[in-house]
């Protein structure tokens, strides 16, 4: 029964190809999203340090 279900009358490749790729792009989207968030937080922290440096260097020159 199982093989029948997956074969889908000989068109399994097409149907499963559709569903699997859909699942895949969804996973890719989620992964990219997590990456984006993590990078944003990272840059935020870096820039906080940088901004501090700039204000410090401004104070020291003026």
């Amino acid at each position: 029964m199982n093989t029948d279900f997956f074969a889908l009358g000989g068109h399994g490749l097409y149907v499963w190809g559709s569903y699997l790729v859909t699942a895949l792009v969804m996973v890719v989207e989620i992964v990219l999203l997590r990456h984006r968030r993590r990078q944003a937080v990272e840059i935020l922290q870096q820039e906080a340090e940088l901004a501090e440096e700039i204000t410090k260097s401004n104070e020291s020159t003026s």
């Binding site: 820039e47 901004a51 700039i54 401004n58 020159t61 003026s62």
Partner: protein
């Protein structure tokens, strides 16, 4: 003279670029006949301020008033009353000095009568090269072309960003004289500079950044 009308006023003006605050809480007024020199180290925000005042770019805080009324970026009233002369000279390489000046004046809403244009070119020392395509002009000659436009401008407020750049001694003298005459006619000027331009002015103030 103390009752001269206020042309431009800023209230608690602030600018940030990226996540750096360039300046904040900047309040000043420019009245007719007044020269305001903006000074400060490289990257302190002089150019940013001038561009903001002429309507290129919005302040991050505070407001700008033109003749007492608040104005937004690209405001019509500002566009009629202000001339901005910045790093970019707006000189077209393909056009001759004469054509450049004529089109430049027309764009600034100023009459561009031929005789007057030639006289202005003579004053800035470009008369001999008036028919040469601007691509062949030297760095200083291009700046002089911009100076020629100022000679003929009658907008009440001039915003000049490092107008002395690339000018030789005689060019600097001409610049100083042009601005001084503008002030005498009741105009006002905001000038950012690193050099000493030596502009004679009845009322001159300095705005110091950092």
């Amino acid at each position: 003279m103390s009752t001269a009308a206020v042309l431009l006023e800023t209230r608690e003006l602030g600018a940030r670029r990226g996540n750096v605050e360039l300046f904040s809480g900047l309040s000043f007024a420019v009245t007719e006949g007044e020269l305001l020199t903006v000074r400060g180290p490289n990257g302190s925000g002089k150019t940013t301020l001038l561009r903001m005042l002429c309507g290129l770019g919005e302040p991050s805080a505070g407001s700008i008033l033109w003749r007492g009324e608040a104005v937004a970026a690209f405001d019509t009233a500002l566009r009629q009353g202000v001339i901005y002369f910045g790093h970019a000279t707006a000189v077209k390489d393909e056009l001759t000095a004469i054509e450049n000046l004529e089109f430049g004046l027309a764009l600034a809403g100023l009459p561009a009568d031929n005789a007057v244009v030639e006289e202005a070119l003579r004053q800035v020392g470009l008369y001999a090269r008036r028919q040469v395509p601007a691509r062949r002009l030297s760095q200083g000659q291009r700046r002089r072309l911009g100076l020629a436009r100022l000679l003929l401008a009658h907008q009440p407020l001039w915003l000049l960003d490092e107008p002395g750049a690339a000018l030789d001694r005689q060019g600097l003298a001409l610049l100083a004289q042009t601005v001084a005459e503008h002030l005498l006619r009741g105009g006002a000027a905001l000038v950012s500079t690193h050099q000493d331009l030596g502009i004679p002015a009845a009322r001159a103030r300095e705005l110091l950044f950092q």
